[in-house]
Amino acid sequence: MADLGLIALVIAFVMAAFGIGASLLGAWLKRPALVMAGRNALYVVCGFVALASLTLLLALMRRDYSLAYVVNQVSNSQPMFYNISAFWGGQAGSLLFWTLVLAGYSAAVTAAQWKRQPVLRPYVTAVLLGVLLFFLTVMLFAANPFNRLWQLPSGATVSALFAPAGAVLALPADGVGLNPILQNYWMVIHPVMLYLGWIGMVVPFAFAVAALATRQLGNDWVRTIRRWTLVPWMFLTIGILMGSQWAYVELGWGGYWAWDPVENASFLPWLTATAFLHSIMIQERRGMLKVWNMALIFLTFELTMVGTFITRSGVIESVHSFALSNIGPLFLSFIALSMFGFLALLGWRLPDLRSSNHLDSMVSRESAFLFNNLLLVLIAVLTLFGTLYPIISDALSQILPIERMAFAAPWFNKVTGPLFLMLIALMGSAPLLSWRKSSRETLRKNFTFPLLFGVAVAALAFLLGVRKPFSALSFGVAGFVVGGIMQEYYRGTKVRRTTKGESWPAAMAQLLRRNQRRYGGYIVHLGVIMVMTAIIGANAYQSEGQANLTRGETLVVENYALTFEGLQQSSGSTYDAVNATMLVTRNGRPVGTVTPGMHFYNTVAGRDQPTNEIAIRMGLAEDLYVVLAGWENAGQTASFKVYVNPLMSWMWIGGVVMILGTLAALWPHQKETERVAAAATAPRGAQPA
């Protein structure tokens, strides 16, 4: 049964290599039949990757311990849900999952764009197959999910595809099981979202390469990939926020983001992709920045690869590096190859990418977007620098009086915090600036209300007790952005109301529907502000308290008082649980109980690693976050850590808003004909204030 998966991988490998050859040869010799063969090869590869994935999934579900991967990821007592998520829980499986997602994207983009992109298509196919081929290579030659477990004559067990000399197949009666800290709902779906985000960035990269190869460097491909970038961007956003949520509810330190290498790896491509989604608007409108947009697509793609490399090769230690192996050299070779290959192609086509750049004014939306790009890329560069600093400092320590060290949250927060604040301020300003040029009059008209609103919010925050200058300033900037968005909505709605006689809700809905990208984008910005509010609240105003409590004793943190009532023991299917009961009062009023606890998993991997089962009372104003840290005297005394995180919930609400905004911007248009008619009547050159 498992052999089927291996055979499927081998066939996919061969077909991918064939497909690349057929596509490129077909494009070169102008033979449509070969190009078609390339496309069909891609579909075949996708089919066999799906088959291999299905085989592994079934093996995991059937607890087929003849596979080394299954032994390491599954145990007899592990619930089926986690057996399924074990597919992407370990090294080899996650590589197969990567490949499967990439196959899915490849098939989807090929099916959707084949007819529309007659010139680009062989190259797009070749690039997609190239990346697929790379992942198949890694699986077949370095981290095969279908490896078996062999017992050597010496008694040791090894994982290998074929039997080593004298070895017999080892068939353990039980498996190791998934790492218990991964046994969390968020952890199960968050990698899926991250992968959907990361891998989706291969599609714009493939189009960029194809556009360069074919010199079809007009606006056509740019329009196509906007959506194909927005979709992975949305998944990346979801994935990052879910990862934060996981860290928040599982790791027990009251925080959500530690600037850990794995977190940074997901964040880096998000930054460059965000920059790209903005700068591409300038190219769409003005035909400028062609090279820069190429560079951003390239950076986004390489950063996903570098991120995978960093987290999977073990070059940087991380809280999240659960699976490490020897795939590093292969990844590095691929990164180097794709980097220099793309740069060579870009250099070769540079003359075709020249565009006459001109700006009407320094004070325009174009320049705001460019400064936004500068900040996003700068944050990405600094984050990458900080992430790689252990290597950099190790290298430097050979020649300079510098010690090898790693940066933690303090450095990242101090360095990127001010840049993020500038970025948010720009995010608020750009929509208030006109394309091409903003006159003094326009500036006054557009900026007055948002600025006043921002000042009002800052003042309100100050009155409510926000005394740290940076926090008050941040609230002011947030107010400015929100004021700007409100003004835009209000004006648009009011105009529709008076000119079209629509009711307020109808006018608002029509506004969004008639210009999804613009108003969808504003919704995303609003979500960003909510996330930012949560970050300020939780970072600058977190309160904490810890104490050893004997039964009946009370711990007071801020406006909360928690009374320890006692410990209870219970059993789940795979673990024993110990929970403390605490009565909670807020501002003196009882608000219920919380039951923080610990789970002791009885799998091999989990027996020594109890997981924190943190009790969180979420609220719009603040979260109460209670960790049971330990106990003694047969549970008569226990120690607790309690955090009060102001505004924390807004991070998740903001995340949902960002996703809704993205969906609004992405949603297919309903009034196609009406829109085209409107476009025909409004001359494009007209740029009223």
Partner: protein
């Protein structure tokens, strides 16, 4: 890579294109080299054979031990810490092995990795450790030997080469056998 992408777009940048291109390529090459270096140092770098890295250790008693000055002796170098659970298991064995060989030209050195002052002294007292021990400030010796976890015990022969590494807790018998082998070799 901030500054490099935009330039070539502009017509005025055409002349500088050459430098810009090389700068980008240089940056990319540098980046790849850096990752390659990371990969190299990430690998297993425990010193399992060859010359044992020299080190200087200031013991808890204030003496200075330098490996190169222990020349001609078999040296047993044990890495431990009070927070290491399995170090407890081998502490007695190590002391007994020291008692077995201390008069036969064998030196024992305990390296206390990332540890705290009062606790480690209590530990030495508790287990009655009599061979010299000292703190490894900031893990310099630990890193030099590429130790991967605690405890690890390096046996260094009379020529100053690593003869054997015990990964994880060792025993009096295991250690004794290795030392005897080296002493035998040295004599013969």
């Amino acid at each position: 890579m901030t500054g490099t992408g935009l330039t070539p777009t502009g017509a005025p940048a055409a002349k500088k294109g050459g430098i810009g291109r090389w700068a980008i390529l240089g940056l990319a090459a540098f980046f790849v080299l850096l990752l390659m270096y990371g990969l190299l140092i990430a690998g297993d770098k425990r010193v399992e054979a060859g010359a044992a890295p020299d080190f200087t250790l200031t013991t808890f008693d204030g003496d200075t031990i330098q490996l190169s000055e222990l020349g001609g002796q078999v040296v047993v170098l044990n890495f431990w810490s009070t927070w290491c659970v399995s170090c407890k298991g081998e502490a007695d064995d190590l002391e007994q092995a020291w008692q077995d060989f201390k008069d036969q030209g064998v030196a024992f050195v305990g390296v206390d990795y990332l540890d705290q002052e009062p606790l480690n002294l209590q530990w030495l007292e508790q287990y009655g450790i009599t061979y010299p021990n000292g703190p490894d400030i900031q893990g310099r010796i630990y890193n030099a030997y590429g130790v991967q976890g605690l405890p690890e015990t390096f046996v260094i022969d009379q020529q100053g080469n690593v003869a054997k590494v015990f990964v994880g807790p060792t025993t009096r018998a295991e250690l004794g056998a290795e030392i005897r082998k080296l002493l035998g070799d040295g004599a013969g």
